[in-house]
Symmetry: C2
Subunit: 471 residues, 2 copies
């Protein structure tokens, strides 16, 4: 189920690894794992990149544990790869040079909730579902919701977002500060809990999206939001994907503060109907949600309704109960699995283009035509309010011709997004899979990124072989 897709080679430091393993095994006992199964599970499973397992996995329980691990690894120049929930999509947890995977599944504590400041402090292993479950009685919630049951540490590391980002922003906007163990074992807290600061370089934002290549996140202070007084939403079918996109564009341009506006193409709706037991018309469809006071929610939905009508939308189906809404958004979050169900045995590979909103219809339409022409199966789903959409390609990994066509399609899509003044990744990150597009996307900026990587991690032990090449 894996295929060789070229990634940057990272040299294994056999001597250092051989010395580090017994040292760390002695220190961490039963929390040090070296079985083939555990190691492979901590290499990457959700991509078509080769699985590259670490040499060992350590289940950390504190920042101090991480400091100890990093110090040993720094001393012996052994790679350190942070592992949250393993749901990243570009090879971020692979270990191309071997080394130690630090597993955060035992660091799920909510350290503090400062309801009076609308923030909380958490350990990196907790998932966004778990956090919101914990917060339930406070009247507050954390809005960032990638499809996967991802850990907050991983979400910070990949600058993740999800369906609510159109209204609440991404991880970039919802983290007040981070605690991170740096490559020399020092512990850095990147800021305080004031809502804003001009005190020096923005280390918080530098670590967000750095995918473990600059430091290991061991604590996060997150912004929280009040659960809206009123929530309403539903689904709105369109005749064409272009009409649906144009309705989204006008909604955003009109400044309607929609909380969620998600596109599913006809094939994805079909997949959801089958997997999530929905009963929707199999046509391009928007899933929507509005947050606010009852009056504001009503205003927003009326304004959206007028726009949808302009683009020939069918009957908007309101979901009035929390249960019905939950079912809908559960289906939305399960699109990866429902897409997989469309072609059993195939590998699902998600793309992640993001373009300025004015180019959305054009980019999605051209991409849909490209899928068709390439003879690929790939439903489209997207956080279209942000100009971000995913093709979930379903690829028969045993068919080299199909793999090649799929890879070529991904390349065209990424370059199309970049050419439209957009990005090859709106929220999944670079990892190993997208390194080859960074030169096109960033030009001379890539050299600045490399200089930063070299300065902070001169021995290249922090998640090597990801985002930028250090040398």
């Amino acid at each position: 189920m894996t295929v060789q897709v070229a990634v940057e080679p990272v040299t294994r430091n056999e001597t250092g690894i051989a010395e580090a393993l017994p040292r760390l095994a002695g220190r961490f006992g039963e929390r040090f794992a070296q079985s083939e199964a555990v190691r492979r599970q901590h290499g990457h499973t959700l991509t078509w990149l080769t699985n590259q397992p670490p040499d060992a996995v350590i289940f950390a329980e504190s920042t101090e544990d991480v400091v100890e691990i990093v110090r040993v690894c720094a001393d012996l120049r052994v790679p350190v790869i942070p592992f949250g929930a393993g749901s990243s999509l570009e090879g971020q947890v692979n270990a191309p040079g071997g080394g130690i995977s630090i597993d955060f599944s035992r660091m799920k504590q909510v350290v503090a909730v400062h309801a009076e400041d609308l923030d909380c402090v958490v350990q990196p292993g907790i998932t966004h579902y778990e956090l919101n479950e914990y917060l339930r009685d406070t009247g507050l919630f954390f809005p960032i919701d990638p499809g996967a049951e991802a850990s907050l540490g991983g979400m910070a590391a990949t600058r993740a977002s999800g369906t609510n980002a159109v209204r609440y922003g991404t991880m970039r906007d919802n983290i007040l500060n981070l605690t991170a163990v740096m490559p020399d074992g020092s512990v850095v807290k990147t800021g305080h809990r004031a809502k804003k600061s001009s005190a020096g370089y923005d280390l918080t934002r530098l670590l967000i999206g750095s995918e473990g290549t600059l430091g290991v996140i061991t604590e996060l202070t997150l912004k929280l939001h009040g659960i809206p007084e009123a929530i309403s939403g539903g689904v709105c079918p369109f005749r064409t994907i272009e009409d649906a996109c144009n309705a989204v564009i006008l909604t955003i341009q009109s400044g309607i503060p929609v909380a969620r506006i998600e596109l599913l193409d006809a094939l994805q709706v079909k997949a959801c109907n089958a997997y999530s037991k929905l009963d929707l018309e199999e046509t391009p469809t928007l899933f929507l949600e509005f947050h606010g006071s009852p009056a504001s929610v009503e205003e927003q939905s009326v304004a959206f309704g007028e726009i949808a009508a302009e683009f020939g939308a069918g009957q908007f189906i309101w979901e009035t109960t929390a249960e019905a809404r939950h079912k809908l958004w559960k289906a939305r979050h399960d699109v990866y699995w429902s897409a997989v169900g469309l072609r059993p045995g195939a590998k699902a590979i998600a793309t992640d283009a993001c373009v300025p909103i004015s180019r959305l219809a054009e980019c999605v339409t051209e991409t849909a035509e490209d899928i068709e022409k390439s003879g690929l199966v790939g439903p489209i789903v997207g956080h279209v309010g942000d100009g971000n959409f995913h093709v979930t390609m379903l690829v028969d990994i045993g068919d080299p011709g199909e793999v090649e066509r799929a890879a070529a399609f991904v390349g065209r899509l990424n370059m199309r997004a970049i050419a439209m003044d957009g990005t090859c990744t709106g929220e999944h990150g670079v990892g190993q899979g997208k390194m080859k597009y960074l030169a096109a996307e960033h030009g001379d900026g890539l050299a600045v990124m490399r200089a930063i990587k070299r300065a902070i991690d001169p021995d290249n032990i922090m998640n090597p072989g990801k985002i930028v090449v250090a040398v």
Copy 2:
């Protein structure tokens, strides 16, 4: 009118400067200025730090001009200091090692307005007033409004904010990408126009707040917002500053999306009455503004009114006309000048503490007591919705005892804010004046900042002697 406040010494490279000046003079002709008056005006004037003029000022007209200047300076290891409007407050435009000030007053162009994507591209010399004047007919506006008529380049460089930040965020949140000339003369565009991206390190946010110490900003892509359908606002008097702060805290905690909520203490109100010809009761007062649909604005003001009543507020005075509102906010933006009017001949020195909202009342109250005890004159004004407030100390610079008391007061205030999990600077930046607090605020993070500075600017030519010491 200046006093020696210790700043980091920066060695002058006499040989390099002597060689650079004729080379640049020859190249830039009448755009190269070396008169004493122009040089002093480009050193810092709005602080109590020593004026340290550059050796020459060049009026840039394009990114290419900046590249040429930086290349010559890089070649000869001569400092480069970007100069926008000169309104920064911590010595950011001083030239402690001499060198070349790049003046952006001839780079005020709006390069593009992408109304369909709610963004625009501008040169760094344009001020926020000029930009909004330009945008007037588009129905869009740029919300960040520091008190000064600051340039957008300077606002980005200091991570500025202002009265609207409580709703619209700071410069950090309102810039899509930057173009910057790096210390080696390379031109980096930090991103594209997609609303979000996970493609590598966040160079945009790294440059925002870097105060010219990593690169020179020559173009900015800014997020724009629709001018709200309805705006309402006015002033609300309180009996005590603590009551006013507590009303703010509860307003923020309740999630009322107030667009502006500004505190003026009794002394500041008195100053505004005199300078801006207002007729307000001289008591702690909040200036407020609500943005939204007519229904939402009404909802917000009713909700705020209930909170204000809980804290014994006096009569809320609504300003129903745009003219009256304009007069009010003009007065708010002129507080620096009105404060100066309270004590003619004194120097106004602004502090900039910012704390988590729950600590606001405590921090402001303790600070007010400290002003009193210290025998200083210092009205208080603040973007209190963000937990940020300024004391505009009016200091007789000719009185060494008073200067010493004022400096000690600033030190206590900054450490108080840091101890409350806040920051010594919410929006003014570090410059020369706040370098000494960064160790207390950032701990080991300061070493990371230094590593970044060294990596990107190894010869320390970019605005040396600011934020971090490079060596």
